[in-house]
């Protein structure tokens, strides 16, 4: 076996090692990306499937300050919704005014300081109920499974509504699952 054969052999092995490294590295990176993607997609689906709520009470009234809707929401899912995620909840309020026949739909803004901060419709935790969410034996700030969150939805005075007006409320949780209910404004 000559010197040139040894050099050729060493060269061949070196090329194989480098090529193998590059290909293995590519496959590793692809695997990592796929793993992360699948994990994220699964987490997103779990957040959607594992979180659910139902409306247990709707009390809608028309007062001097405009329409107010008091809602009790029961966390019927398996995941807690942290107080930091309350702004990620969507409240869609639709009502047909009994006087004018005009139907209005509002996407209500979350107000951490209590209604009313925005021009048409706000929602906030009901500050007159304590503890809220209830019961709150553990983790009092967050909305745990099997506990009830009481919220107040405040329509601005400019949003004309009369007693007897029929409404529809849709609540969308941060993960995308939703619950809805019908109500009628009382005087």
């Amino acid at each position: 076996m000559g010197f040139d054969t040894i050099i050729a052999g060493i060269y061949f092995v070196a090329v194989l090692i480098v090529s193998g490294y590059v290909i293995t590295d590519t496959v590793n990176r692809m695997s990592d990306m796929s793993y992360e993607s699948v994990l994220t997609a699964a987490t997103m689906q779990l957040n959607k499937i594992g979180s659910s709520a139902s409306i247990t009470k709707i009390d809608a009234r028309v007062g001097n300050e405009g329409g107010v809707v008091y809602v009790n929401l029961l966390n019927t899912g398996q995941l807690k919704i942290s107080s930091a995620d309350f702004p990620k909840m969507d409240i869609l309020l639709t009502y047909t005014d009994s006087d004018t026949g005009i139907t209005q739909t509002h996407w209500c803004y979350y107000s951490s300081d209590g209604p009313l901060q925005n021009p048409s419709c706000d929602w906030a935790k009901n500050s007159t109920i304590s503890p809220n969410p209830s019961p709150s034996l553990v983790d009092p700030l967050n909305w745990d499974p099997s506990t009830t969150l009481s919220i107040t939805i405040q329509l601005a005075q400019s949003q004309y509504v009369m007693p007897g007006s029929a409404g529809y409320l849709k609540v969308v949780l941060p993960g995308g699952s939703s619950t809805a209910g019908n109500f009628t404004f009382t005087g």
């Binding site: 796929s34 995620d85 005009i102």
Partner: protein
């Protein structure tokens, strides 16, 4: 002596040729790696994107054209730029299927409440709850699409709205209107 020189020349030529081949092959391998990484990144962005249409309502714009308001929630982990010249929303596709079976694609307009010179309708986007204050449409945040149609009123019946984002993620929803006048706010 002559044989040794010839062998040395051949050996050097072989080493040079092998080096050139190796450089070319490795370059191609790295190109291959980059391509796969790009494919992986795009697939990752696609799988981590998710949007949900949470509601629709009928409204009237100041121009007198009927509007359809659509609220869409970002239920994925990918964020989207919705304002400025680099906005993703200019690449979105919004389709409405009307009760008579016809459907229309509405182009993006950056001017709120107006389609500008576009006579075929358009849609505007507004971020409603910018929780992080970044101006981007991020996880859990909701945008309101205001679709300005070319009609002064919308007929009652069944509609379908479809939104496709710039990375191909799509959401669609069926809804219907009654004949009553409606507004949104």
């Amino acid at each position: 002596m002559q044989v040794v020189i010839s062998t040395a020349i051949l050996l050097i030529a072989t080493i040079i040729a092998a080096s050139v081949f190796t450089a070319a092959a490795l370059s191609e391998l790295y190109t291959f790696q980059n391509s796969f990484q790009q494919i992986g990144s795009k697939a990752q962005a696609y799988y981590e994107s998710s949007i949900t249409i949470i509601g629709e309502a009928q409204a009237s714009s100041s121009s007198g054209m009927a509007e359809i308001d659509v609220w869409v929630k970002n239920t994925g982990t990918t964020s989207f730029t919705i304002t400025g010249t680099a906005s993703d929303s200019q690449y979105w596709d919004v389709f409405i299927t009307f009760p008579d079976g016809t459907y229309t694609r509405f182009p993006y307009s950056s001017t709120a409440g107006s389609c500008g010179s576009n006579q075929n309708g358009c849609f505007n986007v507004a971020l409603l709850n910018d929780i992080t204050g970044t101006g981007k449409w991020e996880t859990g945040e909701t945008v309101q699409l205001t679709i300005i149609t070319t009609s002064s009123s919308l007929s009652s019946g069944a509609y379908q709205v479809s939104l496709s984002l710039s990375n191909g993620v799509t959401a669609q929803d069926n809804f219907s209107f009654s004949s009553t006048t409606t507004t949104t706010g």
